[in-house]
Amino acid sequence: MNKFIKWGLLVLALGLLGAGWWLGLAWAPPDREMGDVQRIMYVHVPLQWMAMLAMFINFVAAVAYLFKASWKLDSAAEASAEIGLVLGTAGMITGAIWGRPTWGVYWSWDPRLTSEAIMLVTYTGYLVLRRFVEDPEKRATWSAVVAIIGAINLPIVWFSVRWWRSLHQVQSSPRTVDPEMVLPLRVSAFGMLFITLFFMAVRYRQALAERQAEVALPDALPGDVPMSASHNPSKVA
């Protein structure tokens, strides 16, 4: 990737995040029920959306890897899982901070919280597996299988836990969003999207460089860039 595009992405991301959060803190009206506490939404919701996006990219890369093995797809899977885990954890922490003043507790066994927690544990397991397998080809195949199995589980968890709660009591907080809150949310979501893409690009190139260093024969898998091309890494990303 072009250096200008990469750093431009970061500047754009930080600019949008700054603007979105300024709008959210100073311009948007406070929530009728929750007051100023609700302004954490402009951090929390974009984080969760991007965590979902990263996990989805991980799933797509894993499926694609099983059809056509390539280090690029494996690196993309590793990068997206790591970044998704970071974003999801940050999203959960901001959610807990939001939950304390509004629900009175940091944590509740609400379907969304439960499925989020299971998602984080699932992808932690995925990353632990990647650390514990030395052979890069086996690591790539096995982690792709684990990523697919884990991703299929998430909708089941979501629905099963909702089902379970509905037999007892549901603690939900349906929030309708005021149009004046939409703009800051949208701006900060795009800022978060660009910063996610920036992280992903950086982490992807690191992962690809690690794979190339690990594999003795660079052409071991078809469709990969040979070692000789690694002096020109801009082609890779």
């Binding site: 544990v121 699932t122 397998v133 030395e134 697919i148 199995i149």
Partner: protein
């Protein structure tokens, strides 16, 4: 007419599965190491729950379904890990892989073998649970048997895939539960809930919906395991 010697026939999926299952069961029968280990482990787990909670029989009775399935889950980690450790001795896995048979037969035979083992364990644990926790079976034995079978099937399919992976990785004893536990939450939840309904009566007729969830989980994971397993053991 012709006198050419019969060529070796490629063996079908079902025949290969049965042959492998027979081999695993024979090993199990001759050593009985795995079954003995998991029976005592699960019994100890059931006993530990009653100590951890103190002698509050009401509490034990109320949560018996959950403790029963946790005991099976913990024991399943031992059983699953062991099912592939057997193959790593003397590089047996390479031999099985070299056989002219469908690699998916290995998945089916291992997963069925684990299901049989866990179901047998569960059947042995039921009277112990009844005695220790003071519960009684309200609806019917058939329902409990069905839940037991479906629950053990649900633990075995993803468990076999993950055991095959973790048996070749470093720190496999940590890896298997770390991968398996979050995955089987829906199965564990529905099995424990349905067992509780069997033990405490089902006035709202919820049993079938939990059974449906468990069946759906099984369909998905037996299918996914069947398709993806050959990719794990390829070399």
């Amino acid at each position: 007419m012709s006198t050419t010697p019969p060529r070796p026939r490629a063996i079908g999926l079902v025949a290969a599965t049965l042959a492998l299952l027979r081999k695993d069961l024979l090993i199990e029968w001759r050593t009985r190491a795995r079954l003995n280990a998991i029976i005592f482990f699960a019994l100890a787990t059931l006993l530990m729950f009653s100590f951890a909670l103190g002698p509050d029989t009401k509490l034990l009775e109320k949560n018996a379904g959950g403790y029963f399935w946790l005991a099976i889950l913990f024991a399943s980690v031992l059983a699953l890990g062991e099912s592939f450790r057997v193959e790593s001795e003397n590089a047996c896995m390479d031999g099985v892989r070299l056989a002219p048979a469908d690699a998916r037969a290995i998945f089916l035979s291992k997963a069925l073998g684990n299901t049989l083992l866990l179901t047998a364990l569960g059947a042995l644990l039921v009277p112990v649970m009844v005695a220790l926790y003071g519960v009684r079976i309200v609806t019917s034995f058939m329902d409990l048997g069905l839940i037991l079978l479906l629950g053990c099937l649900a633990l075995s399919a993803p468990g076999t895939v993950y055991a095959a992976i973790s048996s070749n990785a470093r720190a496999r004893d940590v890896l298997l539960p770390l991968l398996l536990f979050p995955l089987v939450i829906p199965a564990l939840l529905s099995a424990a809930k349905a067992t509780t309904l069997v033990l405490q009566g089902d006035p709202m007729n919820q049993f079938n919906s939990w059974l449906g969830l468990l069946g759906g989980f099984n369909l998905i994971y037996w299918g996914v395991g069947f398709v993806l397993f050959p990719r794990i053991i390829e070399d």
